[in-house]
Symmetry: D2
């Protein structure tokens, strides 16, 4: 189903951009897990809008409330339900687009699918706001994974034509990852980060937007987890990640560049490490073979399109008048979704990895 995902750990998301509340129900979290709720709030703050000049000025404190699933601060086996109330909708901004679908948004197909009864305000359930409950779920999963020695972090690999360094697919470690998690603009190369911010501000000044790429990494995930064919790590990660609005491409390990390589160059040779563990000399496979983890760092990159909502006037159609028209989108929008999408990617990965371990 659209808003349900997962096998042993089953996630149900509810809400729309401008509904009374949005939230998530998590079933399958083991009983007895202590949840550090301020860590959840801190994780949510990484995704929250309005925190700097690069993001929308929509100001949502996004304080979650736990409705069920805890007993004496520990999970109790009942579904864990967390809710965030929507406080700052400004629904009046969305009057015109009821009739004139915004280019590159889901307005037009959502109109068709719902027979015109879709909630257009803020994109309804197609809004990037639906990634807030995904992050709530991910924040809980990240805590549980951390207790099992598994760490996930992501960074902005590129914005427009500015490239960050990439993770070292062999040597990436907790130190590198923790330093990323501590940065308000998560890049490996701070110079690149500054240039990226310039690109975003230029786009904003032009009433325009830019796209980018996020690279994510998971370390400590044990070898031998996953499944062949349709239920492997890549399949499931892809299914959840393509649920993030604006994500249009995904690659694991060497990804698209592997298509240009020869086997002798691409194949990752196995060897026994000094600790007696089986490792690979290179990591073009991105930690996954046959849908199953190999114990090497799991590496993926996701491409995000530029924010569809731009201030410039655009061509569109009037659904009621059945004619071409112009549209100028009002409202507040991120000139680049990539920065706020970083914790969302981490959350999605965390949900999938924990599912396999349960």
């Amino acid at each position: 189903m659209s808003f349900n995902i997962g096998d042993h750990l089953h996630i149900t998301i509810f809400g729309q951009s401008h509904s009374k509340a949005i939230g998530v129900v998590m079933e399958g979290i083991p009983a007895g897990e202590m949840i550090n709720f301020s860590a959840v709030e801190n994780f949510m703050a990484r995704r929250a809008p309005g925190k700097n000049a690069l993001t929308t000025t929509r100001n949502e404190p996004d304080l979650p409330v736990i409705l069920s699933g805890l007993n004496n601060e520990r999970t109790c086996g009942a579904p864990l339900c967390m809710m965030i109330e929507n406080h700052d909708p400004r629904s009046k901004d969305y009057a015109e687009i009821q009739d004139v679908p915004r280019p590159m948004h889901a307005d037009y197909p959502a109109y068709l699918k719902s027979g015109g009864f879709n909630d257009i305000r803020g994109g309804g359930p197609y809004s990037g706001r639906m990634t807030a409950p995904l992050c709530l779920a991910g924040a809980v999963c990240l805590q549980i994974l951390a207790k099992r020695g598994i760490k996930i972090a992501a960074h902005i690999a590129s914005i427009a034509d500015v490239q960050d360094l990439l993770f070292d697919p062999i040597c990436v470690d907790a130190f590198v990852m923790d330093s990323l998690l501590a940065r308000s603009f998560p890049v490996l190369d701070e110079n690149a980060g500054e240039n990226m911010q310039v690109k975003v501000q230029e786009a904003k000044a032009d009433q325009d937007s830019v796209g980018g790429v996020i690279e994510a990494c998971a370390i400590g995930f044990p070898a031998g987890y996953g499944d062949p064919m349709f239920d492997g790590l890549e399949n499931r990660l892809a299914q959840i990640l393509f649920g993030i609005p604006a994500l249009k491409g995904l690659e694991f390990g060497a990804g698209f560049s592997s298509a240009k390589m020869r086997g002798s160059e691409h194949n990752d040779a196995f060897y026994f490490s000094e600790k007696g563990e089986i490792r690979t000399r290179t990591n073009h496979h991105g930690g996954i073979l046959g849908g199953i983890s190999t114990g090497m760092p799991i590496i993926l990159r996701a491409a995000f399109k530029p924010t569809p909502s731009i201030g410039k006037e655009q061509d569109s159609v009037s659904l009621s008048r059945k004619e071409n028209t112009k549209l100028k989108i009002q409202g507040r929008h991120d000139p680049c979704v990539v920065l706020r999408a970083v914790p969302v990617v981490e959350a999605a990965i965390a949900i999938v990895l924990l599912d396999y371990l349960l």
Copy 2:
């Protein structure tokens, strides 16, 4: 589950590379559909090995048998089960790799997952051979889609560094697609195709392999089908496509290149066509917005790694002796999986698209 996929159309695949048979059970095919079985066989022939110098010499006629689901040559509502017997296994080729996992294959993680009880012969259920039943299912779906005016075709977009032309994302039509389906080496630019074949033969001569990219297109799929969040066209296409062994990257529409664009450049403007249909001027979105079809051609590209099985000696480990060792893979293997993967990609797309229509 690993070998199950689909919602209204549910596919279950069974078999291993060297089991007595492989096959597929399809549940949800509407009753009353006439199945042209020779068209199914023709489709299977496109994937079959041994047809030219570029593919493995393993010779499997791959003649499917229908076990259930038909009545008077029409589907009857019962599960449609089709089976292919495995005739030419040469299992003796796989003795050594029981202990020494082949680099870049699933042998090592499969060993871990199964506690050493996995069937290593030909890769067991991790083999590319498992795409044969996927093609069987896809061949049936393609027929049913064709009756509803929907056509799917794919071509080799690149091998190594040789690029084919790409589909025109606005104007791609049945004529172009039919001509691709008729070619034994499906490319849009035949010169590029010849250069690609040289690359494959060079790799083969070097006991090596090469990777490549496949681009696929679906036209005629009506607007308004799909779902938001986790169950959209991109999510489901990704889930099934990452089930094809060797696939390591996937992008829709402009994909990774959209990450470098500005919104004003990337946004596809809506307009009313002369026929009164809503279309977009450009098709960077690849026919999908918010997980739902827009009526524009659905366009995707998938990156395939070079065939892991190469004749050159490689470094690996002995699982029993717990030491580093060398491995030289015997047996017959495709120097490039891309050619045979073209119909597999088409089949996977067909399965997903039909599911949404049921």
Copy 3:
């Protein structure tokens, strides 16, 4: 999953007896349905405790709040989430049973399953209180079904040894069903109803409880809906109905009494009615053959055990001291769950029937 059910209409329930809130997320409700919320509240009032001398004095107004899924009072295609806050928990009543599981309750197996981290207060997620969100979902489904000419009603077929009349399986009609829905003690034979109430009050006076049977009927459900084997009407109705705490038996049509009949007596002969519809002369099959509806009234009966919570002292064990002990349950409890279970059965049926129509 435990708290998820449904195919086209997917229900996710959350909460525990004493959590901050309980609720339900419904995905798959068609967009554009007008929801009469006061009718939902009226339906909830039928299940609410504290309304007469026969039910627990726990007083929960059970006013639901809609968190998402509506737009201009109509469903909009987003998940419909409804929540009820828990106001009157009196958690102190449950101190002792943390260590001494109540006989015939889920306390002991829940303790095992959760490693002792289960929320024992009010039975946690095993509580009959979890049927409140089921009723919320059912109330919405009943409205949508009613617009399609489908009506569902249930009555108390027996309490202890007092039998109500049964539905006429051929002639049951909207008039009979509406009159049941209007009664605070829903029986067909009011004399029997009075005798049943005496039985309940006697049990209550003895600090004891009694069981009973509920019979339910659905009319207007069109022929030809359902599925063979594992996904038929009987399978799905059974799966959801056994989710109602205290339900221990279920039969369709003639049910257990069919086991004593001969085929010639039991078989329901087909005939064309005066309206030209195919009907059966008798309805031992209960409106379902091969898992699929026949257009005849759907009839089922469900047996409920006596409320496990009784005031009398009982034998149990101390989990911590690992010894036999005595337990006297405090708190307020229904002496017979059957009365409050009537709308729950209707709700569960409504959820299943609507799912097939979507």
Copy 4:
């Protein structure tokens, strides 16, 4: 889906009564399990027709073939696919009923559901023959359960008005169960068994049929397995058991008789056994509380209607002529399905119990 069931252990059934073959795909069986195939064949023999005067003379040896999933006689993690070829269809017997649906069969609703394209021969996928692949799957599960100390057996509790003894719900043990499994007519009281056989032969002589009840028991299943709400042992057992054609009622533990009891009489008191295990003094709960096992014997009873196919002339309708008509069913049929259903019930229980343990 109709022919798919299970969570960790996923079963897919294919075939029709008169298709080329019927079979089952099992996904999720742990790798490394040794399968005793002659034990599977012996189990199938218990269900096979034609073995005595009480069952249909249709003679199907029902020898299964393993198509995939084994390696060196052990499961290997790939889907286990087993197939039985259909040899003795006599399809000509079914010409008339294409137009005149048999009373109490699925013919009419199946016709509606499939738009008239259903395979009527032998009932197509609605046939009792579809329980053969269910038994194949169950036979494998029973072996794996047996290695974990879990045993399942069923007996004929009644045919027509002849009652067998019931299992002692506290003391039922492996000795009693093994003796049942060894009997060609599985009853606890052999006198009752002889009387039952008389009833069946009388019905057969009258070209009629009779119904009956099967009682089943599982011992050794550990406490603490199952789930609350919709995914409990009762829910899942009910879902699969109602997939057995002719099953119309189901009860656990005291079942319908609990509805007549008072709580003080019905509640099963906990105590510590001499071995230090928590047990209950009585077992009205049938080994399941809150959907979770308690460690006590799991007890259920299922009611089967009389075989719908009887030799007597019956009233029905002509679908093409839209008029009432008479029908006299030719072909060979069991006068009582209960005998052959005994292993089917055991198989269904085994599939569910193993699923929870995986």
